[in-house]
């Protein structure tokens, strides 16, 4: 036996709004970005990359005799 539906109308379900979708997308993007960073072990700290000139590499003593041109740190108290 079916009860008269008009007597027990259903409570409207809360629907996702645009705002919730935007927050969910941003949260997913952040979580995804973290997963990418953690997986690739990428770091924000840049490391200088360079190449030793070919003439240095081929010269006697090679890189061992070549002085890298670090400007150096002359600080401290």
């Amino acid at each position: 036996m079916t009860m008269n539906k008009a007597l027990l109308p259903n409570v409207a379900k809360t629907k996702l709004t645009k705002g919730s979708v935007i927050v969910a997308v941003l949260a997913t993007a952040l979580t995804g970005a973290y997963a990418m960073v953690a997986l690739t072990q990428a770091e924000g700290t840049p490391a200088e990359r360079d190449e030793l000139p070919a003439n240095v590499r081929s010269s006697p003593g090679g890189y061992r005799s070549y002085h890298f041109w670090h400007s150096g740190y002359n600080g401290g108290k």
Partner: protein, 668 residues
């Protein structure tokens, strides 16, 4: 059994041995069987034309048992409404009652010798009555009604125009019961109980039966002439309407029992935004087309002022009456709910269909303007009280008028949804936040929890997979002074560098080591410093390609004693991380200078595949900021909603208790 009508002599047939009264088809006299033969109870009034899908002598089934509708009575509520009761003779010999009012049907049977039922004095709307079943009944209405007219055979001695006191009850899960106390002036202490179920018409499988009497042919609509101005009034529900307002002269007209009577001119002429007669379909009942048949402007007494809102009465033949309400430009589709299906939690909160509705406000309500037609004796100035509880976008309203407790479920609609439903270009003029305005950013809690769970789970899995391994650890002694820089090869064309004061000796080369691809590198620099500084550069040189990667760190450590306190600052041990570099065989060139006058020890360690919790922390904070901003947005929206909450007494009855209520709400 065939007898002759004691009034007109026409043959009258009692089809069943246990039917008591038969209405004579010729003269409408009620013929009652007695031990001494037949008597007449008097002439019945003509049936009020009422549209009904049920017909006399129709067959049907209820829980597999067949029945025939062999009699019916029309009963008028003391508030004016008329409903029909049909008397069903079942195949197993029982009598059943099928009540029909406003598109709703209930089937019930007499429950003989029911003990422990409440007396008439002890029963009110909202009273719970337990009769031993799994669910107690809740009284939805205590009222007085009288028999107006009847037809066919009846299983009881019906007294025309005899009033009786009744209490309607339901159990919230489809159960229905009525207590009949008889004479309202001298109610019996042992009421008769009729119990059964609310049912859908289709489930009764009604078929066959006599054609409806000619004067009871359903009327799709009628035109009436206003007794005051003779204006033509469209009456869309001539069977059900009891009040009609003349659109020309604004007279309230009673249409009870087909007799027009002027009830007085209304002070204000209502101007509904949605015209009467408009047809509408709502998403909540997409297969049901409603007609707007009435309009009321009502007011709620809130915080010492009356705030008006609009109510449109909607009608559909199958589902009866429902409402479309507009308050401060916020629309709601309102459906009646079985009061017994509501559970009151504590003082004010309610739950329905496992959804908790938080108590929002209680007010006194007043009818201000009326327009169109209504199925009850409405009038401007009518008062009632109501308590609203919310679970946005839904709202439960429990409205008490006299001894009748009506519960309804409102579902929020946007103006564009109302436009789509009605085809009327209602203006979007929503102000503020309605009690049942949809939540801003719903499911934020779930989104937050899920995001943090995924973030943390990712971190934990990757932390478990990361196995740090050392590729270099070296300690060496660095003499004071700046390094002596040999001249570069002439052909390189570099400018001649300055020559240092000290001899070379502060650049060191490691043994070759392997660096793996896809793994970050952690550099740890340390120096034995005392009130001095050091600067360390590590160049990872790939012998195969000539490429190198260079990192550096400055270290310093100072301490002292000043003004009775010792102090220290700086770090002589620091770490930095770089992203993975190309795999290969590398040599580390480590160069250091420092400010000490003596040799210092410099420590360098390189590790790979080190899990970085700090990255997790950074992203967790970013997520927290995002969700925190969203949460604040939602919080302030909800705060605006609840700023309208409150429980107010009737006008002029402001008490200290009201202040207490307000404080309670603030606490929430």
């Amino acid at each position: 059994m065939k007898v002759q009508c004691s009034n007109c002599g026409a043959p009258v047939e009692f089809r069943f041995d246990d039917s008591l009264v038969r209405v004579c088809g010729s003269c409408k006299s009620a013929i009652v069987r007695t031990d001494r033969g037949v008597e007449t109870l008097g002439k019945m009034a003509d049936l009020v034309p009422m549209d009904s899908p049920l017909k006399l002598f129709s067959d049907g089934k209820y829980f597999g048992r067949g029945f025939m509708l062999i009699g019916k009575a029309q009963i008028q509520h003391s508030a004016g409404g008329i409903w029909q009761e049909w008397y069903a003779k079942f195949d197993d010999g029982r009598w059943g009652w099928i009540a029909e009012h406003q598109g709703r049907f209930s089937v019930s049977f007499e429950v003989p010798d029911m003990q422990g039922l409440p007396t008439a004095n002890a029963i009110n709307a909202g009273t719970q009555v337990s009769v031993g079943g799994p669910q107690p009944y809740t009284v939805t209405e205590v009222g007085v009604a009288k028999y107006l007219a009847a037809d066919g055979e009846l299983p009881f001695r019906l007294g025309i125009n005899e009033s009786f006191l009744f209490a309607d009850m339901s159990d919230g899960v489809g159960g229905f019961a009525t207590l009949d106390y008889g004479d309202p002036d001298q109610p019996t202490p042992t009421p008769t109980m009729y119990a059964g179920q609310w049912v859908a018409l289709a489930a009764l499988g009604i078929a066959g039966g006599e054609a409806a009497p000619r004067d009871a042919t359903p009327a799709a609509g009628k035109k009436l002439a206003c007794p005051e101005c003779n204006g033509s009034i469209d009456v869309r529900l001539p069977d059900a309407s009891m009040r009609v307002v003349c659109p020309y002269c604004n007279q309230m007209i009673s249409t009870e029992n087909g007799v027009l009577a002027l009830l007085g001119m209304l002070a204000v002429k209502a101007k509904p935004e949605i015209p009467l007669g408009t047809r509408a379909k709502f998403a909540q009942q997409p297969d049901t087309e409603f007609v707007v048949v009435g309009y009321m402007k009502r007011s709620a007494y809130v915080d010492h002022s009356w705030y008006s809102f609009d109510e449109y009465l909607l009608h559909n033949q199958s589902v009866g009456f429902q409402w479309l309400v507009c308050s401060d430009g916020h629309w709601s589709f309102v459906q009646p709910v079985d009061t017994a299906a509501i559970t009151i939690n504590g003082q004010r909160d309610a739950s329905y269909q496992d959804v908790t509705f938080k108590a929002f406000a209680g007010y006194t309500m007043r009818v201000d303007e009326v327009y169109g037609e209504f199925f009850w004796r409405v009038n401007a100035g009518d008062m009632s009280s109501s308590v609203d509880s919310i679970a946005p976008p839904a709202m439960l309203s429990r409205e008490l008028e006299g001894k009748e407790l009506n519960t309804s479920l409102a579902t929020y609609l946007t103006a564009s949804q109302v436009r789509a439903a009605t085809g009327v270009s209602v203006v979007d003029r929503a102000v503020g936040v309605a009690p049942n305005s949809p939540l801003r950013l719903p499911y934020l809690g779930w989104i937050s929890a899920l995001a943090f769970i995924v973030l943390t789970a990712t971190a934990m899995v990757l932390a478990g997979r990361a196995h740090p391994h050392q590729v270099l650890e070296q300690v060496f002694s660095v003499p004071p002074g700046k390094p002596a820089l040999p001249p570069p090869p002439v052909e390189a064309g570099f400018e001649t560098p300055p020559v240092g004061e000290e001899a070379p000796g502060n650049a060191f080369f490691s043994e070759p080591f392997d660096v793996k691809a896809g793994e970050n590198l952690e550099f740890t620099f340390g120096a034995s410093l005392s009130n001095s500084w050091a600067y360390v550069v590590v160049d990872l040189y790939d012998e195969a390609t000539g490429q190198f990667v260079s990192v550096n760190r400055e270290l310093e450590k100072y301490s002292g004693y000043e003004d009775g306190e010792s102090w220290s600052e700086g770090d002589d041990l620091r770490t930095l991380y770089i992203s993975p570099i190309k795999a290969g065989n590398y040599i580390a060139r480590i160069e250091a200078i420092h400010g000490s006058n003596t040799d210092i020890s410099v420590f360098v360690r390189i590790r790979q595949n080190v899990f970085r919790w700090v990255n997790y922390l950074g992203f967790a904070i970013a997520l927290l900021v995002l969700l925190g901003i969203a949460g604040l947005f939602r919080f302030f929206h909800n705060k605006k909603r609840w700023s309208n909450s409150g429980f107010y007494g009737p006008p002029g009855a402001y008490t200290a208790a009201e202040d207490q209520d307000d404080e309670d709400d603030d606490d929430e």
